[in-house]
């Protein structure tokens, strides 16, 4: 009997972990990645909260397992735009032609970062000193330069929470949940890089939900002297010499506040990456176009299978904002559901 085959769309953490788990269960795995390199956002990240483990280490260990497994075939630069059901199997469509076929499919297309320039009042894309949290990660891994003078060893830096999250003006009412702890992590990393710097976090609420998060927040205040100011910025404006003046309501003081900064970091939230359009025998994988939603799994809370249709499973952050451990666990759980489906249990 030939081995059953599973196709995975997206080779970020969810796709890579799904591939490893499914290959270990004995399936042939075709792993497709749209970009030229696997790893998703993890490939552009510095360290991970709350233990400050280098992101590269985690990605390397995942990639080693993927590359070492003879049953996993990874293809990069392949954009799967749709799926077609042919009997019990699925055909993967790439620009109107069939790219491959599988007994089951895992959609693991991940999330897109909110485009910071949409919050026009913060001036991202206009003032070089205003960067996104993802851009700060690329600076930390030395793929980009600091936006202030190299001689400046005591920069004043502000981090703005909830950019593109919990914001009806952006159409995103949800909390992206990983940004608060990312801000705390980045504030600490900034203080490690520039011990003489002043770092301010502008927050609405501090949502430190995970084990070790609140502890890290406490450490940021006590050991790294990061200042947390409750209040959203009304705007960022230029202040000469490439600096940025920010204005906010200091809601704990009940007074307006202003501050001039050398760098302003916008903690961008997560948005959907793909909006699948499910029809009778086909599924169109549309690029998220501002009004899309995260992939909804009916009955997910009561433990229903993580699928859109029998045989089409969904894993990871394409279902909604998630942290890395959640994504990896979800990928493992999805692999188990998929096994039950293919062995006729589900």
């Amino acid at each position: 009997m030939t081995k059953q085959k599973v196709a995975i769309i997206g080779a970020g953490p969810a796709g890579l972990q799904s591939a490893v788990s499914l290959a270990e269960l004995g399936y042939e795995v075709d792993l497709y990645e749209k970009k030229s390199r696997p790893g998703g956002h993890l490939a552009e990240w510095h360290v991970l909260f709350p233990d400050m483990q280098p992101a590269g280490e985690l990605l390397d260990s995942l990639m080693q397992k993927v590359l070492a497994h003879p049953q996993i075939r990874l293809e990069t630069g392949v954009n799967i735009s749709g799926l077609e059901q042919a009997g019990k199997s699925w055909q993967l469509i790439q620009s109107d032609s069939v790219r491959g076929e599988a007994d089951a499919v895992v959609l693991a297309s991940g999330f897109k970062l909110f485009e910071a320039s949409k919050k026009e009042e913060y001036g991202h894309g206009i003032y070089p000193a205003v960067i996104s949290s993802a851009e700060l990660e690329t600076i930390f891994i030395r793929e980009k330069e600091w936006p202030f003078e190299k001689t400046n060893k005591s920069p004043k830096i502000g981090l703005v929470h909830c950019v593109g999250s919990r914001d009806a003006k952006c159409g995103n009412l949800y909390c992206s949940k990983a940004c608060c702890i990312t801000a705390v992590k980045q504030a600490i990393e900034l203080k490690k890089t520039f011990p003489a710097s002043e770092v301010y976090c502008f927050y609405m609420d501090m949502r430190m939900f995970g084990l070790g998060y609140e502890e890290l927040y406490h450490k940021a205040q006590l050991d790294y002297k990061v200042q947390f100011i409750r209040g959203r910025l009304s705007e960022a404006s230029p202040s000469g010499a490439g600096r940025i003046q920010v204005k906010a309501e200091d809601t704990l003081m009940g007074r307006p506040l202003k501050l001039t900064l050398d760098m302003l970091v916008l903690m961008v939230g997560m948005t959907a990456s793909v909006s699948p359009e499910v029809k009778e025998n086909t599924v169109e994988l549309k690029e998220y176009a501002n009004k899309g939603e995260f992939v909804k799994i009916p009955g997910a809370v009561i433990g229903a299978a993580q699928w859109l249709k029998p045989g089409l499973f969904v894993a990871g952050a394409c279902k909604g904002p998630a942290t890395l451990p959640e994504v990896l666990n979800d990928a493992r759980a999805t692999a188990l559901d998929l096994r039950n489906y293919l062995s006729g249990v589900l």
């Binding site: 301010y200 501090m206 406490h218 409750r230 000469g240 204005k247 007074r255 506040l257 001039t260």
Partner: protein
Amino acid sequence: MTKQYFGFSVLEQRSVNLDSEMPAELESLYQKEPSLRACIACGNCAAVCSAGHFAEMQFYRLNVMARRGLLHEMVGKAAACMLCGRCQMSCPRGVNIRHAVLMMSQL
């Protein structure tokens, strides 16, 4: 500074200006009581405050004033504390409030 003709303005008299130099006493206050930095302004201290029944005593607000460099305002208000220590028993962040407020009032 050049006047700006766009955007939102800030009422100068009321505004907190974090660009201004922080008073030197602030650092010494933090050195005397480092746990002050851990405050998250939850307000538990004020909710259990016995002096708060009689006077305007909200410890977390004193701390916010200190952080913004408004020591003059802070010192005056710290005098209302009776050092009973109820706040300290309820502080979720473990701030050594009694000592902190004593140091504040003696600045």
